[in-house]
Amino acid sequence: MKRKQIALFLLFFLTFLARLPFAQSLERNRSFLTSLKPGFGFEYFSRAISWDDKKYTSKLKAVLAYLDAKYEIQEGFSASLLLGYCSSNWNGLVFRKLPFSTDYEAGRKGGILIGAEIRKSLPAIGNFEIEGYAQFVTCLGLKKEWDLESLNTEGKVKGTPYWMRAAIGPIVTYTGFKDFYPYIYPSLNMLWGKYKMEQTVQDLIGKEDKMISGKSVFSLALGSLYEITDQWSVKGEISLLPYKAGLDIGLRAEAFYSF
């Protein structure tokens, strides 16, 4: 049922986007979006994830730091590339398919962050500007090795995680204030990934690919963009991601420079 609703929402949203003229220009009372905007950003989120056929639940907590290159392809249509560092805490994952079951409590693991964003302006309604916005981010964790110290022989586990996140939805920005643009961003927000764990204890060898998925699929972000100068602008955002038995949170801050 949930999948059907998501599919309908996506279909509606994409159809709505497609029906608009590609180069439609919007009246703007601000100049923060020019042809190229380098920037940097930080993000933190805590997402409930489920694994082993949704039998178990734990939290994935991640901190992201990235450089962002936003390029305006056409008036009202921009694309961004994100590249940076991510640190993810997978504590609570238990690997029971390895010869010796293993409980991951090793805290944060670093990785490489790669992402992309697309933003498309839609018709404004009064002081409310509407944009279609989609983001894809992946955090490719670096391989790390740990000793299994409690055994009477040498044993090791090697872990390689990654997660991906895709979000799509409309951003509704209020443009009635000077230099300050609060916005609301409801979106479909999907998170999934895998933690590959390999174990070697002498000739005992095991491997477990633990598929994870975020329990929340809808996000409501509240944020604001503030133009400090003609060149510099900063953005802050807080996200709430409800799921059946709880609420996840996300936090994001970005700064951009316009040429």
Binding site: Y44, R96, A106, W146, S150, L151, N152, F180, G223, G246
Partner: protein, 452 residues
């Protein structure tokens, strides 16, 4: 002490949130932001969560209470006001620690309240009032005498018996938190049979088995040894009676290959192994052995191993070399005996084939109801590698239950590598007395924590 990372992010979140909204106030004027001080519970969150607790697993904390520690500079008056602002009630202030036990509103869940409290800059930490529990301990009336499973340094037998050393045991109670086995995992007790009507066994016996001595389908024990062995491996557990078995929920398949004199032909044993494999055994216990090497006996245990059946066999009790079939190293786990102080029993056979050890001195288990006079309970103490071996067989059955995809060889290695090298001061590493060490069920079954 280093603060957990998630606690560091909350003040940042709070400051960030205030920053964003204060920008709005300065520029725009309308007072639509949050005020300073504790955040009231957002009714929308309650609706979103439908009043359900945030915890996915069954609740393991008090339903309407949380423990809160406030920043030290806060006065008692301020703390009381803060608690009241959350529509909560102070139940108790824990002396010396200044931790407050507070009762939360009926409609709020513990997780919601903790979430709200953590956003408050005056709160150092807030957490559920968790419920602790003792390790899984069966209610069997004689469990207190089973030092092999849980040794607290108690007397190992009736009053006046020696006391054991605390923790000189196989860590059964911790391991039972992970699994207690399953009915599908059959342990074949290839021995003198079993008392099929024993109160602590009758519900655990899969079938009347097979008797290769008398060549019939009734493996009733006419000696007592098999009943004793079966009880250690998988006696009816948590039934308010008698003893606990290592593998609580696994079933026993009795196979009689030894006569009432405690002796049996190799051919009977070979037949018994073959029959047990064919009849669904996943683990075979052989608390028996002979001094003579036999290709046929070796072929039988090899056959079992190839069929992914784990074979545990007794090393022997005469202080000599490891008996057969235990000595068939590739196909059997050869089990030596230790005592209630985690010392090797000096009558336990030794040699390079010994894989592991388990308690085998003054072990309590079931005996046939006819064994003692009626005024005595049908339980008794005995020693030997015969008593040690079913501890290993029980562990193998528990591993098999939760990891059915593992081969017999892999299960044998898990048991080997997770053993405690209790004689490492004299014989570090694998040795001929206790092999890799005394088995440790907790290490073999409970997930090993990997930390930084």
């Amino acid at each position: 002490m280093k603060r957990p990372p998630q606690k560091k992010i909350l003040p940042v979140l709070f400051i960030f949130y205030i920053f964003i909204f204060s920008l709005g106030f300065k520029k725009t004027g309308p007072d639509n932001g949050r005020k300073e001080g504790p955040f009231p519970l957002d009714p929308k969150i309650q609706i979103l969560n439908q009043g359900q607790p945030f915890q996915i697993k069954s609740p393991s904390y008090a339903a309407h209470e949380v423990l809160v520690k406030f920043k030290p500079f806060l006065s008692e008056k301020m703390i009381n006001a803060t608690i009241a602002a959350y529509r909560s009630q102070k139940l108790k202030r824990i002396l010396h620690l200044d931790v407050y036990q507070i009762q939360i509103p009926e409609k709020a869940s513990v997780k919601e309240m903790i979430y709200a409290l953590k956003l408050n800059p005056y709160v150092m930490y807030a957490e559920p009032n968790y419920i602790a529990h003792i390790e899984k301990t069966p209610n069997d009336t004689l469990f207190k005498y089973q030092y092999a499973l849980s040794n607290s340094g108690q007397e190992v037998g009736p009053a006046g018996s020696p006391r054991g050393t605390s923790s000189a045991d196989i860590k059964a109670t911790a391991a039972w938190e992970e699994t207690m086995g399953a009915e599908e995992t059959l342990i074949a007790i290839i021995d003198t049979g079993a008392d099929l009507k024993h109160a602590d066994l009758q519900n655990k016996i899969k079938s009347s088995g097979h008797d290769f001595v008398n060549n019939d389908d009734d493996a009733t024990d006419d000696h007592g040894h098999g009943t004793f062995v079966a009880g250690i491996a998988a006696a009816d557990t948590n039934n308010n009676e008698g003893i606990a078995g290592v593998a609580w929920n696994c079933k026993i398949l009795p196979v009689k290959v030894m006569g009432k004199d405690g002796q049996g032909y190799y051919s009977w044993i070979i037949d018994g192994i073959s029959w047990a494999v064919a009849n669904g055994a996943r683990v075979i216990n052989l608390s028996l052995g002979g001094e003579f090497d036999s290709e046929a006996l070796k072929a039988a245990v090899r056959y079992a191993s190839e069929k992914n059946v784990v074979v545990a066999a007794a090393a022997g009790n005469d202080g000599g070399a490891v008996l057969y079939p235990a000595a068939y190293d590739d196909y059997c786990l050869a089990v030596a005996a230790t005592d209630y102080n985690d010392h090797w029993a000096d009558w336990s056979n030794s040699g390079p084939q010994v894989d592991v050890a388990a308690p085998g001195v003054e072990v309590l288990s079931t005996v046939p109801t006819w064994y003692f006079e009626p005024k005595y309970l049908p339980y008794g103490f005995a020693s030997g590698t015969s008593a040690a071996t079913p501890h290993v067989a029980g562990l193998a059955a528990l591993i098999r239950t939760i990891k059915p995809w593992l081969s017999a060889g892999e299960i044998m290695n898990i048991i080997r590598f997770s053993a405690d090298d209790i004689n490492s001061s004299e014989h570090p590493g694998k040795d001929g007395f206790i092999g890799y060490g005394r088995i440790n069920m907790e290490k073999a079954l409970v997930p090993i924590k990997i930390k930084k």
